[in-house]
Amino acid sequence: MSGITLTRKHKNALSSLLRMGLNLPLVILIILPLIYTFIMSVIPADELYTRLLPTRWDFVSYLNVFEKTGIPRQILNSFVVAGSVTLLQMITCSMAAFAFSFLQFKGRNLVFMIILATMMVPWEATIISNYLTVSGWGWLDSYKAMILPYACSAMGIFLMRQNYLTFARELHEAAKLDGCNNWRFLLSIVIPLARPALGALGAYVFLLQWNQYLWPLLVTNSDKVRTAQIGISQLYDIDSEQIGLMMAGVVVVLVPSLSIFVFMQKQLINGLMAGAVKG
């Protein structure tokens, strides 16, 4: 008897080891660019052209990022823009999704289909006109130009609707019988129940907005409102001091989004997964 148990334990241990072994190269492959970026940001200027790995770490590039570049201000701008978009989307998507899941009205399915269809419109088809619209209104080089076009998204509506559909219909009936109107119902009952999905949506939208590149590139001119992604892309210049600066800039700009990812990981992944399974 004991002989068989040992073998199974061994088998499990062996499979664990095998799995570790198979995962290791992939993990290294995926994390390698980040590690390399960090190394390049701390390698001293005199070793840059001669060695791959530094003998000592020089953090001067990070000092330069904060003193010499517009990156600190740009990170703030990214926060403002991404934060505002996140807030706005959480509001508008919750509201619209509520209509699609709890309310009956003529054309409900048609409107929903149309909104879903917007997910397939490539931004290239609208970016030129949006640019002309926004510059015609004198919105260039402002926060609102970067925030308002993204104040709502079909993806967000879809996710929230999926989530709302899992709530029992009786809740709504009960609330109506109690004299609760739809607005109060949404605010005091639905939203608190939808908190995990809202959290996931928030994290996802924040990340998407943090990483936006082309639109902010087109509508901003000055460091006053320019966002971080544009900022790091403008750091390129092949000068030995500049390479370190560029890599340090990338690291600094990655920290916020990676932090959000790490802290909201469970919520984000669970929320996205819930949306995916139903889809």
């Binding site: 807030l87 510059s135 015609g136 809202l198 001119n221 500049q242």
Partner: protein
């Protein structure tokens, strides 16, 4: 969750507060510039010193990305009513387009208004930006292309005469290149970047014109001229020869950054780049080897021509606001005064546009320590003003086509004759479309 919402609300409030950015009662002059890296640091310092030296004017210097990006920004904002800047630095090839936009006031107006003495400015530079006798913009960071070489390697290889033609470079390349054990190139004898600017410079070095109608100066260009005058064919033949040489490799296009990095790392013995790289190259190389500079090479041995200026110039926006325009002119004069131009030269490699800078201590010290800086100046003075470059509305676009086609010659083996036809068609097409909708 609640905390997250609260945080976001706070950020929103902060944002609305931040958008107010007034600087008190000073006149606010917005200056768009396009230099990056260490050269940008110098600009920022100079702006800072100007702001600190007086309290009437505040100059807000805003980086707009590379020249190509900056001119796109300019085009984009031209669609609005008021331009969001007062001074813009643009490259020389953007000149025709900027003049066409009719949004700038020619600096001649302010030269006359304040009695500025233009005789202190290098005549070749002034000539480039003078059209119909009017000076449109002020040259600021001007450069000519140079040949940089590793003097230490030259000495080791026993090369005593620095080549003056491309053929000369091809001849000495075998002595400078080294190979790996498996036969691949380790150190190139030379590397020429596929930079459209070089095409223009070589055309001038051959004494020929880039576009018709007096190189775009007598009236706006309607077609290219480098097909008929054979310049394009000569150049593509040259590129073909280069692509067949095993002592060099295709480096990059649109700039010279990678060639420069290779040079500093000792991976190429010769490279071509603007003199604006000189200070940076010297700093990066340090003591590893001796850096030499020489004139930009001729294409054919019997060429008679010269280089025209590259780099950038400062334009003043016609904002209608007298106070701002006067302030802008004051700032421009500050940037081109002898002391600042001397510092500018020493710390970047762009040559001083103000000839009085040669008398300053800073300049003299720098030249003594690094005689390499003199080459660009000599080259400029040796090029007559008749080789001043061309004016073309769609210059930036055509430059891209030049690089596209050169790439095909180098990497795909496109024949030089076909290359000329292809480039001519692409360029003339662009010119036609532009003229159709703008004139």
């Amino acid at each position: 969750m609640k905390k997250l919402v609260a945080l976001l609300l706070v950020l929103l409030l902060a944002a609305s507060g931040l958008t107010a950015f007034a600087e008190g009662d000073k006149i606010n002059v917005v200056f768009w510039y396009s230099l990056g890296g260490t050269n940008a640091d110098v600009i920022k310092e100079m702006v800072g010193e100007f702001n600190a030296s007086q309290d009437k004017i505040f100059v807000d210097a805003q980086y707009q990305g590379e020249y190509d990006d900056a001119i796109n920004k300019l085009k984009a904002t031209s669609m609005g009513e008021a331009l969001p800047f007062d001074i813009v630095q643009s490259y020389e090839i953007g000149s025709r387009f900027i003049i066409d936009s009719k949004k700038m006031v020619p600096v001649q107006t302010y030269i006359d208004k304040t009695g500025f003495d233009t005789s202190v400015i290098e005549p070749n530079l002034l000539a480039y930006y003078t059209i119909d006798g009017i000076i449109n913009s002020v040259p600021f960071n001007c450069s000519t292309p140079l040949m940089y070489y590793n003097k230490t390697l030259f000495d080791e290889a026993g090369i005593t005469e620095v080549p003056t033609t491309v053929d000369g470079i091809l001849e000495i390349a075998p002595k400078l290149a080294t190979f790996n054990a498996d036969g691949t190139l380790d150190r190139a004898g030379f590397t020429f970047s596929n930079y459209g600017w070089f095409f223009e410079q070589w055309t001038g070095k051959m004494g020929r014109q880039y576009v018709n109608n007096g190189n775009g100066r007598e009236s706006y260009a309607t077609a290219v001229a480098f097909d008929e005058n054979g310049a394009a064919l000569d150049l593509f033949n040259m590129w073909k020869k280069i692509s067949e040489s095993k002592y060099t490799t295709y480096m990059e296009r649109g700039g010279t950054g990678q060639s420069r990095a290779a040079f500093v790392a000792g991976k190429t013995a010769i490279f071509l780049a603007s003199t604006a790289n000189l200070a940076g190259v010297l700093a990066n190389v340090g003591d590893s080897f001796e850096v030499g500079t020489a004139y930009f090479p001729y294409v054919n041995a019997d060429d008679k021509g010269g280089v025209s200026t590259g780099g950038g110039t400062l334009w003043m926006v016609d904002s209608g606001d007298e106070a701002r325009m006067d302030a802008s002119w004051e700032f421009i004069q500050y940037m081109i005064n002898p002391e600042n131009q001397a510092v500018w030269n020493a710390r970047t490699g762009y040559f001083p546009i103000n000839m009085k800078a040669h008398d300053t201590e800073v300049f003299k010290e720098n030249i003594t320590k690094f005689p390499q800086f003199q080459t660009a100046l000599d080259q400029l003075h040796d090029s007559g003003p008749e080789y001043v470059g061309s004016l073309l509305s769609v210059f930036p676009e055509v430059r891209q086509y030049v690089e596209d086609v050169t790439e095909e010659v180098f990497l795909k083996g496109l024949s030089p004759e076909e290359a000329v036809t292809k480039l001519t068609n692409l360029a003339n097409d662009a010119i036609e479309m532009y003229n159709l909708t703008n004139y």
